[in-house]
């Protein structure tokens, strides 16, 4: 498959994945473009891999975790998020999810990446550890911390089926 065909077929999935990792549409677009521009020059090799998409997604995650991008993202401490609505109705449920999405964007980048890999990509903790270059226990602690933050800041998520 040519690079162009592959990007045409899988580009949408890459963008959606980058969105879940970055929680920012513009940053997701920049991440994917940046990684694909580098992938292009090595496509003859990458296309022969058993799972080129997994390779590219790992590259997106690692690009996302770089210090400079992290520091330029103006991430805010979770404590600064406004209180979530308490009433349990449809409107507040949507508001709760909006708040949860906003909070995702303010989580530490590594925690956000772990959540995206686990809950959006359905990857095992072992697979996530391989992508991030860390231990399975680190993956679990990162996920645990992220979910605890979400539960604490968005009570509505706890009432539902947040894992």
């Amino acid at each position: 498959m040519t690079f162009e065909d592959w990007v045409g077929a899988r580009g949408g999935a890459l963008l959606r994945f980058a969105l879940m990792v970055s929680a920012d549409p513009s940053r997701a677009e920049d991440l994917v473009q940046s990684v694909l521009a580098r992938v292009y020059s090595r496509w003859s090799h990458i296309s022969t891999l058993a799972a080129p998409e997994a390779y590219v997604k790992a590259a997106i995650v690692n690009e996302h975790l770089k210090w400079w991008r992290r520091r330029s993202n103006h991430e805010m401490p979770a404590e600064m998020l406004t209180d979530a609505p308490e009433a349990f109705d449809v409107a507040s449920r949507h508001a709760s999810r909006d708040a949860a999405w906003e909070l995702l964007g303010r989580l530490p980048r590594r925690q956000r990446a772990v959540l995206a890999l686990r809950f959006y990509e359905d990857m095992s903790d072992g697979g996530i550890a391989a992508v991030l270059g860390c231990s399975v226990s680190t993956v679990r602690s990162q996920a645990s911390r992220a979910l605890a933050t979400l539960r604490a800041a968005v009570p509505m998520m706890q009432k539902e089926t947040l894992p």
Binding site: S34, L36, K66, W68, G133, C134
Partner: protein, 346 residues
């Protein structure tokens, strides 16, 4: 399906439109890379041709071809009213009144833009406002005309040697009474583009350029591999340093190059070592690859020796780590804030 999965899926449409422009945008980035390489190679050839053809080869005062183990220009004195800035191994003097930017040339105030990851003047949404004076680092050749902000007049280009490295130095008037100039050193993959409102300032800036392997803050242009050499200290780092060099590196250019550096002494240096020594100990485990070093701290000790600490944000087995060669500490928020005082423009 978990609620979180549903949350993700509800937001997928945010990037629907981006799919259509993805491939064209990637092609533009690929073309830019290729163009940079081609122009770089062409500039190198032209430099040789110009030399052989008898065009005057200007040489700066510095011709040292050897690899310096100490800053080659640590004693470089900027002209009055100027200060030294360095990135990617190029030192330059800019007016004291110029600010420091992380890449984009936003606002009307004069500034020098460092090539922070993902941001450079050619990728920014807005160009430099008319009348703004600036200098901008590039890790590869970029067409200076794109930053000129007007029609470029006759270009006066010369082949020069800066610290033994062949480079192209060019100046040209720009419509509106401004001037643009640049120095490009293909073998070092670095270019500095400068736009000023008067020719004298432009010439002063271009004339001040040095190419170094250890910059004025004591930072190596290319990062050393491996863990730091341990030194004998009772704490994680020497509590009473003479000075600390903070060196920031990035891999966005395809290699691991010095982006920004800063040297602290006195109370600010002691404040930094205090938070380093207070950071929590940690033991990385199950590392599949060594951590990427984002910053190197070089601590000058009173006995004349130095201690090195590597700082990684995407460390192995931990969120982030400080490594003094013997043990690891966590990069706490306090540590990161203290280090960033050296990185973030005032």
């Amino acid at each position: 399906m978990t609620d979180l999965r549903e949350l993700y899926e509800r937001h997928e449409a945010l990037v629907d439109e981006a799919h259509e422009r993805l491939l064209p945008a990637v092609r533009v980035r690929v073309r830019r890379r290729r163009l940079s390489h081609r122009i770089g190679a062409a500039a190198a050839v032209l430099a040789v041709v110009a030399t052989v053809g008898g065009v005057a080869v200007l040489t700066t005062a510095h011709r040292n071809m050897s690899t310096p183990l100490v800053p080659a220009h640590a004693d470089q004195r900027p002209p009055a009213g100027y200060r030294i800035v360095s990135s990617l191994g190029m030192q330059v003097a800019v007016p004291n009144s110029w600010g420091l930017s992380s890449g984009c040339l936003q606002g009307a105030s004069p500034m020098i833009a460092l090539p922070d990851d993902g941001y450079n003047p050619f990728n920014c949404d807005q160009g430099a406002p008319a009348g703004k004076e600036f200098a901008a680092y590039e890790a590869t050749y970029e067409d200076p005309g794109r930053l000129a902000g007007g029609s470029v007049g006759s270009v006066v280009s010369q082949t020069i040697a800066i610290d033994g490295v062949t480079a192209t130095r060019a100046m040209a008037p720009v419509s509106g009474g401004r001037f643009i100039g640049w120095v490009y050193a293909p073998s070092r993959s670095i270019e500095l583009i400068v736009r000023t409102n008067d020719q004298a300032t432009l010439a002063t800036i271009l004339d001040s350029i040095n190419l170094v392997e250890v910059d004025n803050a004591g930072c190596r242009t290319d990062i050393s591999s491996g863990r730091p050499t341990p030194v004998d200290t009772s704490e994680f780092v020497d509590q009473h340093p003479v000075a600390i060099s903070v060196c920031f590196y990035s891999t966005f250019t395809g290699d691991h190059r010095l982006i920004r550096s800063h040297r602290d002494a006195g109370a600010s240096a002691e404040a930094l070592v205090t938070v380093l020594n207070a950071a929590q100990s940690v033991v990385p485990s199950n590392c599949s690859a060594p951590p990427l070093v984002d910053a190197v701290l070089i601590i000058d000790r009173r006995d004349g020796s130095t201690q090195t600490v590597n700082a990684s944000v995407s460390g192995c087995g931990v969120d982030s780590s400080l490594d003094n060669g013997r043990s690891y500490r966590v990069v706490s928020g306090a540590v990161q804030d203290e280090i960033d005082k050296a990185r973030v423009p005032a």
